[in-house]
């Protein structure tokens, strides 16, 4: 009896995701509106994403190439792509906690597949990433760095990143709907992760202690996109770590979503 209940719960969760995929025009529109909404009535509009990211990249790149005593040509592209990918990861883990609580006005008034809010959320983050990405291209062009065809590895790399982003959003969104402290905890952790991950510094600076970077899953997630764009395929270790992370993420999200999906309306 318990067994059948478990299976039907899991099936309901799969149906939820499936139903949401079918409603793609809805979450496309909502995700797009989220972007428009934030910059409505501003002159630059969504280009504000691009502008602020460009300024951050240049400022950090210039200062840190001095601090770390590295040539700008070496550090700047690394910092630039690192920051752009980190901005994507960071915005997901920071804001995923509000995924369901923020959609309260929908959830309490209409029955829709809950995955819609996840898709909408991830989509808006991908759109912002697309606004930032040209900065990476400009930086590479400025330093005359041509990664070659290996850069195409960045495409599946980014897709894997998006999948992980979606999965962790489900888990974080659910847990945060129940325990409102979670987003606060993540906000304080995110600062630390940013500083201990080789984003604005090179992992090579760790010397013998390179395990400090290698043990950091965020490093590998960033490398998934950064390494190909800088001209080398992601390392085997990066692939193993990120694939393992994806599996864990999937199991976690599937378990939580199947178990607690129908509680979301009560929690928010």
């Amino acid at each position: 009896m318990i067994q059948t209940k478990k299976i039907s719960r899991f099936k309901l969760a799969v149906d939820d995701v499936h139903g949401a995929i079918e409603l793609w025009p809805l979450w496309f529109r909502l995700g797009w509106n989220d972007i428009l909404h934030r910059y409505r009535r501003s002159t630059l509009g969504p280009l504000w994403f691009t502008a602020s990211m460009a300024i951050t990249t240049v400022a950090l790149g210039l200062v840190y190439s001095q601090v770390l005593n590295l040539p700008a040509r070496e550090l700047m592209p690394h910092v630039c792509i690192g920051l752009i990918v980190w901005a994507f990861i960071n915005s997901i883990i920071l804001e995923a906690g509000d995924l369901f609580t923020g959609a309260e006005s929908y959830i309490r008034h209409i029955k829709l597949p809950y995955s819609i809010y996840v898709f909408r959320f991830v989509l808006s983050k991908v759109i912002i990433f697309a606004h930032d990405f040209p900065i990476a291209v400009v930086t590479l062009a400025f330093f005359r760095i041509w990664p070659g065809p290996v850069a195409l590895y960045a495409v599946p790399g980014f897709l894997l990143l998006v999948v992980n982003g979606g999965l962790i959003s489900i888990s974080l969104g659910l847990v945060s709907a129940r325990f409102r402290d979670i987003p606060r905890i993540i906000a304080s952790l995110s600062q630390i992760i940013f500083l201990i991950t080789p984003i604005i510094w090179m992992p090579s600076l760790l010397g013998e202690r390179s395990y400090l970077a290698e043990a950091n899953p965020f490093f590998h997630l960033i490398e998934l996109v950064r390494a190909p764009l800088l001209g080398s395929a992601p390392s085997v270790r990066t692939l193993v770590v990120t694939l393992a992370l994806t599996v864990i993420n999937l199991l976690l999200a599937a378990t939580l979503f199947a178990r607690y999906r129908n509680r979301i309306a009560y929690w928010i």
Binding site: L23, P25, R41, Y106, R108, I110, K111, R178, N262, Y266
Partner: protein, 262 residues
């Protein structure tokens, strides 16, 4: 599982609730203070504790009912009796902790005027989003857009951001969308009815036309006159339990007696 079989055999039943209970966990009210007990003692809802000694509010207890095609059901009862919760349960928003809800047909909830409303978007774009939320396809929406626009009587205002709208205008917009296709099941909370008399008359005509399409209409309301005009059946909720259900006249009469006796 007999209910499932009944539902498929009996074509007239659109929604069936079987022993449905909805219990809300209250995470903030963790303390077991005497003060809280006394304060909550006289309230309409049922505050209790579950097996883990968590504070819970039993919003609906053991609700069984069958709604058949053509029913215009009114939910009546004091504030906090569970009317809105029952509407939300019918809409599938709250999955009951006990019992089951079976329904067939497209449900159009009209519980909140502001659902999906983006104040910065203009009227047309909001109609599109709202219609999508109610399950219309993009093609369907574009086809019905002129008709919806006409029903709102908002004219050129539809090109303006909806933050410039009055509450009444917003209602017209939302009502027009919610009812632009023949919803098989229309669930409505009275609190959204803030339009002027002329609009309410128009809305009434529209609702009347649904009933003729053999669909279901459920209204939660305190307005007994409105209920008698719009509904043919009544369900009186008291502290999350069904106190009485039956023909609207009888239920309203009993309810009136009860209210004036207190």
């Amino acid at each position: 599982m007999s209910t499932l079989a009944n539902l498929s055999r009996n074509d007239e039943t659109v929604i069936r609730l079987d022993g449905v209970s909805v219990v809300f966990p209250v995470y903030q009210a963790g303390s077991r203070s005497l003060k809280k007990r006394i304060l909550f003692h006289g309230s309409r809802g049922n505050i209790g504790r579950d097996a883990n000694d968590k504070v819970v509010v039993a919003a609906l207890s053991d609700i069984s009912l069958a709604i058949t095609a053509g029913d215009r059901l009114a939910l009546i009862g004091a504030n906090g009796a569970g009317k809105t919760t029952l509407l939300r349960t019918l809409a599938g928003i709250f999955e009951p902790v006990e019992g089951e809800v079976k329904s067939r047909g497209r449900i159009s909830p009209l519980l909140d005027i502001n659902l999906g409303i983006d104040a910065e978007l203009n009227g047309y774009d909001n109609i599109r989003v709202r219609a999508m939320l109610l399950g219309l396809s993009t093609a369907e929406i574009e086809r019905r857009l002129p008709e919806i626009a006409e029903f709102t009587e908002l004219g050129d205002y539809l090109d303006m951001p909806v933050r410039t709208y009055s509450a009444g205008m917003m209602l017209r917009l939302c009502f027009a969308v919610a009812t632009c296709f023949e919803p098989e099941i229309l669930l409505m909370d009275e609190s959204i009815l803030t339009g002027d008399a002329r609009f309410i008359a128009k809305a009434e005509a529209r609702i009347q036309s649904f009933i003729e399409e053999a669909s279901v209409f459920v209204l939660a309301s305190h307005n007994l006159e409105l209920i008698k005009r719009w509904c043919n059946k009544g369900l009186w909720l008291d502290r999350g339990r069904i106190r009485m259900q039956g023909p609207i006249e009888a239920v309203v009469e009993e309810y009136r007696k009860f209210v004036s006796a207190r």
